[in-house]
Amino acid sequence: MAFDKLELRDIEVWDGNFAAAQAMRQVQIDVVAAYPITPSTPIVEGYAKFLADGYIEGEFVMVESEHAAMSGCIGASAAGGRVATATSSQGFALMVETLYQASGMRLPIVLNVVNRALAAPLNVNGDHSDMYLGRDSGWIQFDAYNAQEAYDLNFIAFKVAEDHSVRLPAMVHQDGFLTSHTAQGVKTITDDAAYNFVGEFKPMNDMLDLDHPVTHGVQAEEDWHFEHKARQHRDLMLNVVPRIHEAFDAFEKLTGRKYNMVEQYNMDDAEIAVVCMGSSVETACEVAQELRDQGIKVGVVGIRVIRPFPFKEVIDALKDLKAIGALDRSSPNGAPGMLFNEIAGALFNTDTKAALSGYVYGLGGRDLTKEHLRDLFKELKVNADAGKVTTQLQQFIGVRGPKLAFL
């Protein structure tokens, strides 16, 4: 071996960025093509330092833009090997063209997205605008709520994406700064166990197989395009979910840490719940516990896998509730929030009586405080008791100025 392994303590104090960089080191990526951007920069820096210290055997290509980063990843992945990178926000936006190309060419690239707002106005802090921007791009999207999960979900992402029945790229999201820059205790996996969990990369349609030349990235007009897009959607809908379940089960066997398509906290006999993503899930859980202690039956639902959207799991988690609050950390700019819409779509053809209302919060890294959540749960309780939404369907919370509510 031309590289050294690292002895990790059972629990290391890492922030989300370093946790992701460590996971990338442990899976022995063949090519990382990357461009730094706040707040994901430390992932790229961490990886570069591992390289400088002899812990990486693969290639690290420091390109000149995020578009080139994903372009290089696509070329490398099509050549046939394990590929990953990281980005945020404007960099993610610059990558968007190539995100569709990566998924359409069925290349299992892993992209760590450290979520950050999209300009204008320019903002370096965490919201989910970039994460939402990726949701139609044909990628699998995992969402981590803390550093531990950012670490764990990287292994799961590689395992699922590279499976030959899947062959789709995957994003692992974490919240900018709140997760990426907050040092926490992270339970580690040894280098060998981590690599063995993901396994050796198995090439497919690889350009570097010189005896089997392949053409990647064709043009397909109205006579073929639809069939290819339909196949990709079909595979996302039907092939990915079983592989995710298998990966979650295998990961639980390895580490004892259990992941689900939809995470449920205090939901067993809950009457009201909020649905959210990212670091907000943990804040909401704390407030829910507080309210539980006061005898109010509240729970929290976190979306773990954003794409493919866990339609059935969302129905199972929410259908028996009396009131639901959907929390979107991205400005929908002229529509209900994404989570509101997805949940409404899931529940519409069920016989649920749940009152569903939507909240837009936390844009540009604005804190979602416990007080916000207490008020929100109170409002949901009123809805639950009334058997209907008593407010407007969409409200902005935590924004200064006169109350903003719509629909």
Binding site: G104, H212, H216, V218, E227, Q232
Partner: protein, 131 residues
């Protein structure tokens, strides 16, 4: 090529040039290759032509100008000899005729419907006005 349903082709709109293993492609002539049905070699653009080149080997000096400047890999040269034209892939551009240095030319353009035997029988003789 027959149009297929979404479940009938490989993912990623990936195409293979050959059936199975293809070793040393750079040293394997077209007739010895196992082209896949997705290789454009198996397709034809003959219907693009309005005019076609006719080859008269009596005057050919095997200089290979036509071979090197043919945009459509349609001049068939084997063992350093020009042996014919691939009429499935020739688009009728006429470059081969223009670059042909013999007098009279060894390649001339005729309308697509022209009978080749007749064209050869009526081949022009040496043009004394040319160098």
């Amino acid at each position: 090529m027959a149009e297929q349903g979404w479940d009938e082709f490989e993912i990623g709109a990936m195409l293979r040039s050959f059936n199975g293993e293809a070793k040393d492609v750079a040293l394997t002539l077209q007739e010895d290759r196992d082209y896949s049905s997705n290789n454009s070699f198996t397709a034809s653009v003959a219907d693009w032509r309005i005019e076609k080149p006719v080859f008269n080997k009596d005057y050919c000096i095997d200089c290979q100008f036509c071979w090197v400047y043919c945009p459509d890999i349609s001049i068939i040269s084997r063992d350093k000899k020009m042996i014919g034209i691939d009429m499935d892939h020739c688009k009728g551009c006429g470059i081969c005729v223009e670059v042909c240095p013999t007098n009279p030319k060894s390649l001339l353009m005729y309308s697509e419907q022209t009978d080749e035997e007749q064209a050869l029988a009526a081949w022009p003789s040496k043009d004394e006005g040319e160098k």
